[in-house]
């Protein structure tokens, strides 16, 4: 998983990293000049008188104007076009910040329907992505360092940000405006995938999950309605979904396909490979492993995993009930699940 701006994975981040490394080099140079003068003033015995004007005009005016002016111009050039509106063919996604998770809504395009998901932003490599950023409660900030700059999510305002992922990979995006108790656990994962993988993922996400078949999953579906999970969470296609009410909690349709649970609180699935090297690039971001242990842990004791999260712990449920809920949300009969399988086996 990449989280640093020093290893940019897209043109925007590239431009910003370029500005950063140039500035670092130039400032290091300026620092050395100033410190050289200081060291000489302190310790060099052979120093000759220097006219005051040279210190004041040279060091105090010409040097900073040249150095800083150059940096300004360079930064301006590097960032030209970064704030332009997204190009027409961009993938449009609405990102909304909540305490402490991200809701995501992919716009419909062509015959691909719109759909909602949460906390995991999957995008195709090479195609511009246009985000609209809004907040449901307090100010948050979207920041995926490897993919470009930062933009605040301000209540009452709609901000925009465009980025393109050049390489497949999983990129970490921590909320970077302090937003309360679980600010540290409000992480957006961006998964950049090859376009064909993305198209498949998109198709699967937009589709309703299969009706539960195993008795345990069916019981889980019933419990999901019975214990009021539905008042905050949506699982599309289930009888318990309550339509288009504002989401109080993340949309849980296909939740088991996500790499993390609780906006970065719990690792739910492996991800093939996190970093794109050529050999493994096909497997980047492919969920592996069993989602149910994480789901169980989360449901049983949210307040232990993510204290302060706006969901109660369900410690009072029996282990069997929790197992059933996990089974239901994992959307697959466990008996037949291979140890390591690719994406969720939903058929459109």
């Amino acid at each position: 998983m990449s989280a640093t701006l020093l290893r940019p994975a897209g043109p925007q981040a590239e431009a910003l990293a370029g500005a950063m490394s140039t500035a670092l080099a130039v400032c290091a140079f300026a620092f050395v000049v100033a410190m050289g003068a200081l060291a000489a003033a302190l310790w060099w015995r052979g120093r000759r008188p220097v006219p005051s004007a040279l210190w004041l005009w040279g060091g105090g005016l010409v040097l900073p104007i040249l150095v800083f002016g150059g940096l300004l111009l360079h930064g301006e050039r590097q960032t030209r076009g970064l704030l332009d509106p997204a190009p027409p063919g961009a993938l449009r996604i609405a990102v909304t910040g909540h305490l402490w998770w991200w809701s995501l809504r992919y716009d419909a395009e062509g015959d691909a329907p719109a759909f909602a998901t949460a906390n995991e932003l999957r995008v195709p490599v090479g195609r511009p992505v246009a985000l609209t950023l809004a907040s449901e409660d307090v100010i948050h900030s979207y920041w995926v360092p490897a993919l470009g700059g930062k933009m605040d999510l301000v209540p009452g305002r709609l901000n925009r940000l465009t980025f393109t992922a050049a390489r497949p990979g999983v990129y970490r995006g921590p909320c970077s405006e302090y937003c309360g108790t679980q600010h540290a656990t409000m992480v957006l994962q961006v998964v950049a995938m090859p376009p064909e993988d993305f198209a498949r993922w998109r198709r699967e996400q937009a589709a309703d999950p299969p009706a539960p078949v195993s008795p345990r999953a069916m019981r889980g579906a019933a419990l999901f309605a019975e214990h009021g999970c539905v008042s905050c969470h949506t699982v599309r296609g289930s009888s318990a979904a309550i339509g288009s009410a504002p989401a109080l909690g993340p949309d849980l349709t296909h939740v088991a396909s996500r790499l993390w649970l609780g906006a970065g609180a719990l690792r739910q699935r492996g991800a093939g490979s996190d970093v794109a090297d050529d050999a493994a690039s096909a497997a980047v971001g492919q969920p592996t492993g069993d989602a149910r242990p994480a789901l169980r842990a989360w449901i049983r004791d949210v307040q232990q995993v993510k204290p302060g999260a706006r969901m109660p712990s369900y410690r009072h449920l029996s282990a069997e009930d929790i197992e059933a809920l996990a089974e239901y949300l994992a959307e697959a009969p466990a008996e037949r699940a291979p140890a390591k399988r690719p994406l969720v086996a939903a058929t459109p």
Binding site: M20, C27, L56, G69, L71, S141, R172
Partner: protein
């Protein structure tokens, strides 16, 4: 008086005959002797208050540092659960708040209270009781505020308290209220300090110390004083608006009702950005004083450095938007702010090279202070350069609100203020009790603090670039954050050891009786003259910008009483008033003496604000009454004509005694106070304008505007009221004001109330209560501010009336009258603008 043609001075150096008459020194000492026993707490002298003030601010540095250590303990390793998130958030909010509001700003003001009068050759600050009041308010309020941590009631929304997080919905507890009310009133104390500094620097300098000869430090404090009175009101207005939103549900920052969370950021950073220069400029002034003293040569480019201070002060008000580069405001404005933010580094660089040039030219004495100054230069230059980086949009978009920023501002704040402060403590410690601190231990203290600092904060740059946002209570392993954080935590412990060593050496070195300091570094500025509570025996006549180097005999002359005002004339505490630019001696004024009232007033004020926060109504009222009674009692003793019309300030130089009208420091103090009020009011008016501009139609449907005739009536009422108050005290300079004229204040007050009520009735219709939307909410806030002014008018009328009835408004003691006229005039102006504002905006 002989014209001194040589240097263009209109006054010459006094040459009082020696020896001085017997008993003169004893009378001077008696006049300035502090009260004994427990009454000592009523001492208002700047030496006493200044020492207490510095010590208290230093205690807050330690208290804030303890919080930092706890923070570093939690962050030492990934995924720790040593401190839970809510407590951690209280810790970092308190750390930032304590360091900024209870340590840094008070410390720079405290050093000025202690050092500035002596450096200017004044006997004290112009309003000693105001200094005492503001100190006690800060000390009591600050400790009570800090104590909220022990009840887990400390604020937890970050030191800049962004709404909506700090609003009633997301911070329902008292925590945020403690911040808003606690810090709100501590800011009042900072403003009181600023009034002292400005009037002190401009009106009480030693004769001959024209502006061009004034120490750079005094320039720095003058600029800082002006910055405080322009910057702090914005955050006072902001906190008032946020508190009203929290307490009365008047939406201002609530986006669901037409408010705007970014409005808070504008108000906060309009204060917050100048704030960092309010902290840095005094330190820069101290550096500009210490570097020449230690290098034994005058400062390179004295005037350029002074100009740089002024330039930084001015430009710092244009940069607040760079804290909002990622808020999505966009447009040309951001590029312009980016350019300004880079440009402010130029006067910074100029000062740095002036200091380096001075060191280059001089023959340096290597004291502990020198080491701290070198450490300051290294650290501050690095912090300045990362500041330039952050001013560049493409860099800020990445590292804004990350540990890179945390690293940057610790470099400029610790580098730019704390290291110079340690240098200053070592350098000026001999002025405290005549005892220097250990130079040997000092090297260790420096090494530990400097090394620990860089070990703590340099890795934070890297943590930020690796993707660590600020204010997280923990971070995951596996993304490279383990090492930088572990180093930071180790570094923090090393700093703590260094500070502990400093404290130990401080206690060790300052034991024992007071002794003469004997000017250990052979400095050039006046504070190194032999001095007592009253400052120097006689006030030195200044002929050069490095007076002690220019006239080596000044020590003895001043001590012998050759110079100005070698004794006391009335038996009270006197100082010279000099002209602002050329420092001609104009008058001798008698300063207010020791009194317990400022302390009582401070206790009352603190009780008022703190008990209001916890909604203890009875206690709040009692606190308010105590404060008002105490301030009344304190003021009642002031504005008295000295016993003599004029007196000899030096042999053959007769100066008038006492000051009224525009020559009195109190007049200018009140003028500054009005500037503060005007800025608070302007900030609120801006808030209303800001939310109005976000409306589709203005005024919003159904709001309606008062018709012009009503507004005219209101305006006339205010104008008439101001005219009556002016007439009430007319002719006070000629003859005592007749007692019956106090009656005039009744209709004057009635008219103010009338104007206010008229405004209230027409401002918004009943079906649009202030809770409805931000437009009405901000309007209600403006009217509330005017309501507060009406209450002030009542007190002014009562006090002024009582003075008139007691026959105290008379020739040579009518400063009260001028103060009341000025304040009353502003109340009326503000009232009129409040009436018309929504109509003008619409």
């Amino acid at each position: 008086m002989i014209e001194n043609e040589m240097n263009g001075d209109a006054i010459s150096r006094p040459a009082n005959r020696l020896p001085r008459p017997p008993g003169e020194l004893e009378r001077l000492e008696a006049a300035w002797a502090p009260p004994r026993g427990w009454r000592r707490v009523g001492s208002v002298n700047n030496v006493f208050i200044g020492k207490l003030y510095i010590a208290t601010a230093f205690v807050f540095l330690l208290l804030g540092g303890v919080l930092a250590l706890l923070i570093r303990a939690q962050l030492a390793a990934p995924g720790q659960t040593l401190i839970d998130a809510p407590l951690f958030q209280q810790l970092f909010t308190m750390h930032g708040t304590v360091m900024m509001f209870l340590f840094a700003v008070p410390m720079v003001e405290a050093i000025a209270v202690f050092l500035l009068p002596n450096m200017l050759g004044a006997r004290d600050l112009p309003f000693p009781r105001l200094s005492a009041y503001s100190y006690w308010m800060y000390a009591i309020g600050g400790l009570a505020f800090y104590a909220t941590l022990f009840w887990r009631l400390a604020p937890d929304a970050g030191w800049f308290m962004y709404p909506p997080l700090s609003g009633a919905t997301y911070s329902p507890g008292l925590n945020a209220d403690f911040w808003l009310l606690g810090i709100g009133f501590i800011e009042i104390s900072a403003i009181a300090g600023a009034i002292e500094l400005i009037t002190g620097v401009l009106m009480t300098r030693a004769p001959g110390m024209r502006l061009s000869r004034m120490p750079v430090y005094a320039w720095a404090m003058l600029v800082v004083g002006l910055m405080i009175i322009l910057a702090f009101p914005a955050v006072i207005a902001g906190t008032a608006l946020l508190e009203m939103e929290r307490a009365f549900d008047w939406p201002v920052f609530d986006a669901t009702r037409g408010g705007d969370p970014l409005l808070w950021q504008h108000l906060f950073w309009f204060f917050g950005h100048p704030e960092v220069y309010i902290i840095f400029l005094p330190a820069a002034g101290l550096v500009s004083t210490m570097v020449p003293a230690l290098a034994r040569t005058t400062l390179v480019g004295r005037h350029a450095v002074t100009a740089a201070l002024i330039g930084i002060g001015a430009v710092s008000f244009l940069l607040w938007l760079h804290h909002m580069f990622t808020a999505g405001l966009g447009g040309m404005g951001m590029s312009l702010v980016s350019i300004f933010s880079v440009a402010i580094a130029i006067p910074g660089a100029l000062q740095v090279f002036a200091w380096i040039g001075t060191l280059w030219r001089g023959r340096l004495q290597w004291t502990t202070a020198t080491w701290f100054l070198v450490g300051f230069l290294v650290t501050f230059v690095l912090g300045g350069l990362t500041g330039v980086m952050l001013a560049l949009l493409p860099i800020d978009w990445q590292v804004h609100d990350t540990y890179f920023v945390v690293a940057h501002f610790h470099y400029v704040l610790i580098g730019g203020m704390v290291l110079p402060m340690f240098a200053a403590l070592y350098h000026w410690m001999p002025l405290w009790k005549g005892r220097a601190m250990s130079e040997r231990v000092g090297r260790w203290v420096f090494g530990l603090i400097f090394g620990g600092f860089h070990l703590t904060f340099f890795p934070m740059h890297i943590a930020g670039m690796l993707g660590m946002p600020r204010r997280v209570h923990t971070y995951p392993s596996g993304i490279g954050l383990e090492l930088p954080n572990a180093l930071s935590s180790v570094g923090a412990v090393i700093i703590a050891v260094g500070v502990l060593l400093f404290v130990i050496d401080l206690v060790r070195s300052q034991r024992g009786p007071e002794q003469d300091h004997e000017d250990p570094w052979r400095s050039s500025t006046l504070e190194w003259l032999p001095s007592e509570n009253y400052g120097t025996r006689s006030i030195p006549h200044v002929e050069h910008h490095e007076p002690l180097w220019h006239r080596p005999g000044l020590h003895e002359e001043v001590e012998a009483g050759v110079h100005w005002l070698p004794g006391t004339i009335t038996g009270g505490r006197e100082t010279l008033l000099t002209s602002p630019a050329r420092a001609h001696p104009l008058r001798i004024v008698v300063l207010a003496g020791d009194s317990l009232w400022p302390l009582v007033a401070a206790i009352g004020t603190a009780a008022f604000f703190l008990l209001m926060t916890v909604k203890a109504v009875a206690g709040t009222v009692v606190g308010g009454v105590v404060a008002i009674v105490a301030i009344w009692a304190w003021l009642w003793q002031t504005d008295r004509a000295p016993a003599f019309e004029d007196a000899e300030a030096a042999d053959g130089v007769i100066l008038p005694m006492g000051a009224s009208g525009w020559q009195a420091p109190s007049f200018w103090g009140v003028v500054i106070l009005i500037v503060v009020q005007a800025t608070i009011f302007a900030s609120m008016a801006f808030a209303h304008l800001h939310v109005a501009m976000r409306l589709d139609v203005c005024p919003p449907p159904g709001a309606g505007l008062a018709d012009v005739s009503t507004l005219m009536f209101g305006s006339i009422a205010y104008a008439l009221s101001a005219a009556i108050v002016m007439a009430t005290g007319r002719g006070a300079w000629r003859a005592p004001v007749a007692r019956w004229r106090a009656v005039l204040l009744v209709p004057a007050f009635g008219l103010v109330v009338g104007g206010f009520v008229m405004g209230l009735q027409t401002a918004w219709p009943a079906e649009r209560p202030p809770t409805l939307d931000a437009w009405t909410g901000t309007l209600a806030a403006m009217h509330s501010l005017q309501g507060l002014q009406v209450a002030v008018a009542a007190l002014l009328a009562l006090y002024f009336g009582a003075r008139i009835v007691s026959g105290l408004v008379r020739p040579r003691q009518h400063a009260t009258r001028e103060a009341v006229v000025l304040l009353w005039g502003w109340i009326c102006v503000q009232g009129v603008v409040t009436l018309w504002w929504p109509r003008w905006i619409a």
